[in-house]
Symmetry: C2
Subunit: 253 residues, 2 copies
Amino acid sequence: MANFCLILAYDGTRYNGWQRQGNTSDTIQEKLENILEHLYGEPVEIHGSGRTDAGVHALRQVANYHVPRMLSRFSCQEIQTYFNQYLPLDIRVLSVSKADSRFHARLSAESKIYEYRIDCGPIANIFNRRYLYRIEEPLNPQKMQEAASYLIGTHDFKSFCANRHMKKSTVRTIYDISFELVDGILYIRYCGDGFLYHMVRILTGTLIEIGMGDLLPTQLPTILESQNRALAGFTAPAQGLFLVEVHYPEAGE
Amino acid sequence: MANFCLILAYDGTRYNGWQRQGNTSDTIQEKLENILEHLYGEPVEIHGSGRTDAGVHALRQVANYHVPRMLSRFSCQEIQTYFNQYLPLDIRVLSVSKADSRFHARLSAESKIYEYRIDCGPIANIFNRRYLYRIEEPLNPQKMQEAASYLIGTHDFKSFCANRHMKKSTVRTIYDISFELVDGILYIRYCGDGFLYHMVRILTGTLIEIGMGDLLPTQLPTILESQNRALAGFTAPAQGLFLVEVHYPEAGE
């Protein structure tokens, strides 16, 4: 089997997330697989590095798919051109490359970076308004940064997981959370080995509540330890969230 | 009369341009005037620095309005807050200030800067796609720059005016045209004392045809001299055009 690795960007606004679902046709995975089926003449399954939720965007999502060598008559450039010709304008294939046969976009991923963008300037941003979460109340980024320091490291993030019946481990490692405030927009970047369902959005909602003074930074360890979703903050809306990049141990891409 | 000066930003996508028109309600001027009428309790006319066409955006449009002193009981901050509370999210008032009584946003304007944004990268930009004109064919920015040098100065720009029955002078002065290519996006900035109807878009369309090799840079003087719209290039679409700023001789703002 030939194994192809894709780097993708998409505006998640009008999609029902990454994952193909039985009854809807508006998922990123389905858009891609439909094009692959046309290209190769048979169904091809595509694996994303992870599922992005409805409305979440991606700057460099990674995916891969296998095709039997006998079907694999197209070059990487041809595959990319074919995708970008037939995909809607809010999904683009940034690159196509041949990958090691063992490479799997999700299972091989070592770490991921997500970014949450908050518009907290004095006047709401117009031209990026679809990709920002607007907050009118004043935010204290120093308090948010102080709170974020409690999240770094390996913890059970059950309090920050929307799936109440999660049977698998809710232990994850956050390597870094960085903050940058540029032109009234606060960028929060989360780097970790993986993220639970809604985890980045609940972390962000909690940090926002801290930034607004509704919670104290020093309450974060208690929230973490409680393993109780109800103690964490609200789920920040999807429109401000971007999957930035996915790292792999070697040049599997 | 008190004279107030506004700096405005808007996403022109869903508007029928700046100027209030009898039969439509989707112009920027009308949105602003409706709010002023609510604020002051009587109709107030607002003067823009110039009319932007349907679909054209503004980063810093300037406008002013007069109100009788007896009605002028609101501070600049109150006026700004009121506007931003009631305006749709694609129009924002960036500042409100008191102006000299003789200040007029259009008549006092000394020069204007427009910017046209062309997406000519290898892969179409996703997140700014509403504000870019996408070109798939390769462009030669050097040729465009060479051609632009013929446009600098005072000329009769009749060939670049969409109004065939223009009775007023079609002589304008272009002070500068600059090019910047960043991440696959070509930004063309036009600075001039004023621009005719569709002039920036026709200039851009002509430069694009030169960049694609359909016209030669050295043909520009002939096109200018012909005073014939048919010899110039196509009208580049509105969505890539931004009014960037308006300059006034003194601190009239």
